[in-house]
């Protein structure tokens, strides 16, 4: 991975930029403050917590919970709140990170220079994406202590933390690939970032709104199942993936499957519905990979071919040998 010069340079530049430190501080500050506010106003917020629990996780069970049971579930709710916050923060950070990745190179006219070297568009795009992933990885790792504090209360296992960490990484990869596509396609950083926000917002909110507001549009009216395309849109929805993860952790998988049954064309016993989390993650990784490949199309200088690397490496190795021999002499 470190053989990729673009990745090396990006990581080096990111490390020097105050943006990374500010992102990490900001990210953790928001999580810590939210957790603090949640715990500080725990007593006052109990009715609200009951409402959230009923709405999202335990349905009718929350109203009959004792205060102790509610307290136990509230900690789990805090964990979910932090995970959702993490997702929202990533949702806002990733487009700003990726928007200028290719477009910024174009604006500074450094892209042309890279394209007149042996770097292929694929190397450039993957280098950029991996650099973004490294940044996200650092941010996510930095949040582990805060999430671990919730873990102290015993509501969640280490496995839960690993699972949420993995889901966040995959979702970031997916969101990043969309940002990178716009950065490669649109020549300027700011419009590329704005377009990424609009598309991501549409991707997360639109399918959920459509099924509520205009079910006819997605073909699910009158008891008919929704179209396959709508199911795919739901699979691509990173917000739904995160909600699915949390529902599973709360043991509310059945309610999630019934939600899928009522909104998509899937039956409750279909493998996709039963393994929604894995399926959606796999689907998002595949789509992300295809989007990255599509991004490389926008970087192709016309004369370049993929086989160029092999030809030049052969030539360089023969030259290296000659030069080293010259030097020895």
């Amino acid at each position: 991975m470190q053989k990729n010069p673009v990745l090396k340079r990006e990581v080096r530049a990111n490390m020097r930029s105050p943006k990374l430190i500010l992102s990490i501080i900001g990210f953790n500050l928001v999580l810590a403050l939210s957790g603090f506010i949640f715990l500080a106003f725990f007593e006052e917020a109990q009715p609200l917590e009951r409402l959230f629990l009923e709405l999202f996780f335990q349905e009718n069970a929350a109203s009959s919970m004792s205060d102790n049971e509610l307290a136990y579930n509230s900690i789990r709710l805090l964990y979910c709140l932090l995970i959702m916050l993490e997702f929202v923060l990533l949702f806002f950070i990733i487009p700003t990170l990726t928007g200028s990745m290719i477009a910024g190179e174009r604006e500074h006219q450094t892209l042309d220079l890279m394209l007149t070297t042996q770097l292929t568009p694929k190397t450039i795009v993957f280098g950029k994406l991996l650099a973004m992933m490294k940044t996200i990885l650092m941010i996510l790792i930095s949040t582990l202590p805060i999430l671990s504090l919730v873990n102290v209360f015993g509501s969640f296992s280490v496995f839960d933390m690993i699972a949420s960490f993995g889901v966040m990484l995959v979702v970031s990869f997916f969101l990043g690939s969309i940002g990178l596509l716009f950065s490669a396609w649109i020549k300027r950083s700011v419009p590329a970032t704005l377009c990424t926000y609009i598309v991501l917002l549409g991707l997360c909110i639109l399918p959920l709104m459509l099924v509520r507001l205009t079910p006819e549009l997605i073909g699910s009216s009158g008891g008919r199942p929704a179209t396959f395309a709508y199911t795919l849109a739901m699979l691509m929805n990173p917000l739904l993936t995160v909600v699915c993860l949390l529902k599973m952790r709360f043991g509310a998988e059945a309610s999630f499957i019934s939600y899928l049954e009522s909104t998509t064309h899937l039956a409750s016993d279909s493998p996709i519905a039963r393994h929604w989390l894995i399926m959606s993650l796999l689907f998002q990784v595949t789509v992300a990979y295809l989007l990255v490949l599509l991004s490389t199309k926008y970087l192709q200088p016309r004369y370049r071919r993929r086989e160029m690397n092999g030809a030049i490496k052969e030539r360089m190795s023969s030259e290296t040998e000659t030069e080293t021999e010259d030097e020895k002499e």
């Binding site: 394209l115 007149t116 070297t117 360089m316």
Partner: protein, 314 residues
């Protein structure tokens, strides 16, 4: 300088349009090995487009480009090994050190380890930036930044170095430094294709010149040829105190005189270019008893001459 007539770059009938705008029309020219070829032309004449096509960043609609005998569209892998390209902007990563910047491009060019380090130090030495490896790119002067760009382009020891308006935005003092760098590179045998609007500078180190206008190469030749042409077209201004008709009569008979026009006592004489033409004419007039008050070969600078050629605002 290595003298050779083997063309290292050959551009033949290249056409390029952007929508309805025709940027290049049947552009043809060649650059011989070891030469410094200057491309001049007014803004929008297609210089940068031509260079971007040559380095493969744009695709020509038609025509062929061969570099070192290889067809650029057939052998792109080989071509990238032979050329170094400096675009009209710096193209720098300002948050990197000079060493890091060079290392990045060395690795991007497939150079590693000892070879990369050696090439980097050689390239920096060529442009006089040795000892500045630990400086942030952002802290370099404009001239140093431009020299760093050239060093980057020299990393793969290109046979053809392509410089797109390297003097742009550089002050006079730094321009001299950059000119010396280009001269040194040329002296070391690097073939250079350079586009610039600073014609006066080009005359100092170019061996060949191509004049572009309207997306085509209007005229191409050696610098000597253009300098001769510019001298030949300069008229001699002769101011007399009288005997204008007699003077015209004498001048008409002179061999090297091509045209004479008179404005009262001021004569404009166009002559063929020969070494002692001024002396011959003056001598003939004096011998004929014509009272010559002043005798002056009009100075037209090379820039004005090129401007006249392109009919534009070079």
């Amino acid at each position: 300088m290595a003298e050779s007539f083997e063309p290292i770059l050959q551009v033949e009938k290249v056409n390029k349009s952007f929508g309805s705008f025709r940027a290049l029309t049947d552009l043809s020219f060649s650059v011989n090995a070891g030469h410094v070829f200057g491309m001049v032309g007014e803004n929008g004449s297609g210089k940068s487009t031509a260079l971007r096509i040559i380095v493969g960043l744009l695709r020509a609609d038609s025509g062929t480009i061969s570099i070192c005998g290889l067809d650029a569209s057939e052998k792109p892998a080989e071509i990238y090994h032979y050329i170094g390209y400096v675009p009209d902007s710096f193209g720098l990563y300002e948050n990197l050190l000079v060493r890091e910047y060079m290392t990045f491009f060395a690795e991007a060019s497939g150079l590693e380890g000892y070879l990369a380090r050696r090439r980097i130090s050689n390239a920096l030495e060529m442009v006089g930036l040795i000892g500045r490896e630990g400086v942030y790119v952002d802290n370099l002067s404009s001239s140093m930044k431009q020299r760093l760009c050239i060093a980057r382009a020299m990393l793969n020891y290109p046979r053809l170095l392509i410089l797109d308006d390297p003097m742009k935005g550089i002050d006079l003092k730094n321009r001299f430094e950059l000119r010396d760098v280009i001269r040194d590179l040329s002296a070391q045998g690097t073939t250079i294709l350079i586009s610039s609007h600073m014609i006066t500078e080009l005359t100092e180190f170019c061996t060949d010149l191509g004049i572009m206008a309207g997306g085509t190469m209007k005229e191409q030749g050696s610098m000597e040829y253009f300098l001769k042409q510019s001298r030949r077209d300069r008229p001699i201004k002769i101011r007399l105190s009288g005997m204008t008709d007699r003077a015209i009569e004498v001048l008409d008979k002179a061999d090297s005189v091509r045209a004479v026009s008179a404005d009262k006592n001021l004569l404009h004489v166009i002559v063929d270019n020969s070494s002692d033409v001024e002396a011959k004419i003056l001598s003939a007039l004096v011998q004929a008893g014509v009272p010559v008050v002043s005798f002056l070969r009009e100075e037209e600078n090379f820039e004005a001459f090129i401007k006249r050629k392109t009919g534009g605002d070079v």
